[in-house]
Amino acid sequence: MTSTLERTVAPPAVRRRPAARRPYRWTARAFVFPAVALCVLLLYVPFVWTTFLSFTQYDGFGSPELVGLDKYAEMFADPAFVNSLLNTLFWVLGTLVLPVGGGLLVAVLVYGLSGSFWYRLPFLVPYAISGVAVGVIWTLVLQTHGALDQVFNLFGVDDPPRWLLDSPLNTLTMIVAAAWQGVGVNALLFTVGLQSIPKEPLEAARLDGAAGWKLFRTMTWPMLTPLTTVVVGLAIVGSLKQFDIIYAMTQGGPGRSSETLALTMYKETFINSDYGLGGAIAVFITVITVIASVIYIRRQLGAAKEM
């Protein structure tokens, strides 16, 4: 045993022997190994592989042939890609306005009402169903002579806009369909945020005469910031990968007018068998996802510092 003096002087980490501190060294590794191995094999290796393929010409037969940055040049020169990039931008902006804004609206509107669960329920039903089912339902609503057109006809409009056939209108209507699905979960997340806001400052502000919009803007909204960061971050990342609803409704058509990057990547790879181009688009999606996340997180951190 070391003396009392030594014990106080020596840093504890050095004094203890590693073997004694981690008696389960190998057991711990064995417990964590399966998760790490699966992630490496099915996520990290494919990630590197796709990056490699993006620098090659490869159609699935023979072996990939290195072509440098050719596939990236081809990608940017492709009008279908540029259109798809624009649509994706629409999706990002539209998702920020509709499902996120709508979710906040529903959460604030319903929060604190007696029976608030029941008021939230209608918004949660679409959240539980799949993108494909949402696509099926909204096809019924938006197709030519569909449910929405019939409402227009009722008001004497005989040739309503072609909701799913004209670009960029078809992208906008599909964003609405996605919003129908997405508002519920955002409302739920914002409700969790509202519940975690301490009551005292709100009460104090209320006593000072703040109410309604002013109370929301000066007190509630700033205190929701951590949660808004999460919701907006999820919305951006999610909208950059939007695939299911579009695939189920227009398959990116008519022509290639309503494709997003995720759809273009899928088509180039599995329909045109151009793995190099598919890889280049996949890398591009990843890069803008990372850039968007970094810009967004930095902005949020900057804002937090100012407060």
Partner: protein, 273 residues
């Protein structure tokens, strides 16, 4: 609450009703008789005479029967595996104090950052090479991995909150690390495990992209990929059947979600922090 409360309530209720309009439309039109179906009267209910027939057609000639049973297997087995493997990782990192544990947690968790698009081609090529393309095993494998990161992350956070004394007392009693995991830590985590399981099972049930990419045959192909192809095969004339298919695939997740709404909310809350 007074008048402001009443206004808020009516507005919320109105918005809720508007939100359910598409649900009304799908139910009304899925119940229409195919022979007399006229797409220009989508709003008007026409009895429920066609509902069972439409459901039946979607079930048999749409091959949903096969897809539902296959997908049920994926949606139960994959999240269950993910929950256990994720919990093992969390336990190894927290209770067994894996060296550089936080680093390994990041290694597991960072994998969720990759867009699926980055993985599709190699998964497809690799699956074909390994002869697991278009097999149930292959799909269970990929769904397990997709659910794993979230599961490991939440379980690691959960186990951090478990008192260390519990582990040490069990060690003093002579229990092995494996036994402590199965008999103490896993049972303690039941609420968190359930929440993760439900979230991930819903995710697997609703998946389209992986199913499209990694399967082809009726027996293996997951539900959403089958429904999506149904939409391609049939035209607007059999809209009621397509809508019936939409109902079949949606009812299980809606029921699951409503029955476990609290766990769901908790799961979301767990996921954020």
């Amino acid at each position: 609450m007074g008048r402001a409360g009443t206004v808020r309530k009516s507005f919320a209720a109105l918005l809720g009703v508007v939100w359910l309009v598409p649900v009304y439309l799908i139910v009304v039109n899925a119940a229409k008789d195919r022979a007399t179906y006229n797409q220009t009267s989508a709003w008007i209910p026409a009895g429920i005479s066609g509902l069972w027939e439409n459901l039946g057609i979607a079930w048999t000639s749409g091959h949903l029967a096969q897809s539902v049973s296959a997908t049920a297997v994926y949606a139960i087995v994959a999240p269950a595996l993910a929950v256990v493997i994720g919990a093992m990782a969390g336990y190894g990192i927290v209770a067994l104090r894996l060296k550089h544990g936080f680093f390994w947690l990041i290694v597991i968790f960072a994998s969720t950052v990759f867009p699926l698009q980055m993985l599709l081609m190699p998964l497809f090529i690799g699956y074909v090479d390994l002869n697991i393309y278009d097999t149930k095993f292959g799909l269970i494998l990929v769904y397990t991995v997709m659910a794993l990161a979230f599961s490991a992350f939440v379980m690691r956070n959960f186990f951090t909150g478990v008192a260390r004394e519990m582990f040490e007392a069990a060690v003093v009693d002579g229990a092995s690390a494996m036994r402590i995991f199965w008999r103490i830590y896993l049972p303690l985590a039941t609420p968190a495990l359930t929440a993760i399981f439900i979230l991930q099972a819903t995710g697997v049930w609703n998946d389209l992209l992986l199913g499209l990419t990694l399967s082809r045959s009726q027996e293996v192909r997951p539900l959403m990929a089958s429904v999506a192809s149904l939409q391609g095969v049939y035209g607007g004339t059999t809209m009621p059947v397509l809508l019936a298919a939409g109902l079949i695939v949606s009812v299980p997740t809606i029921l699951l979600f409503l029955l476990t709404q609290r766990a769901f909310g908790r799961g979301l809350a767990l996921g954020q922090f």
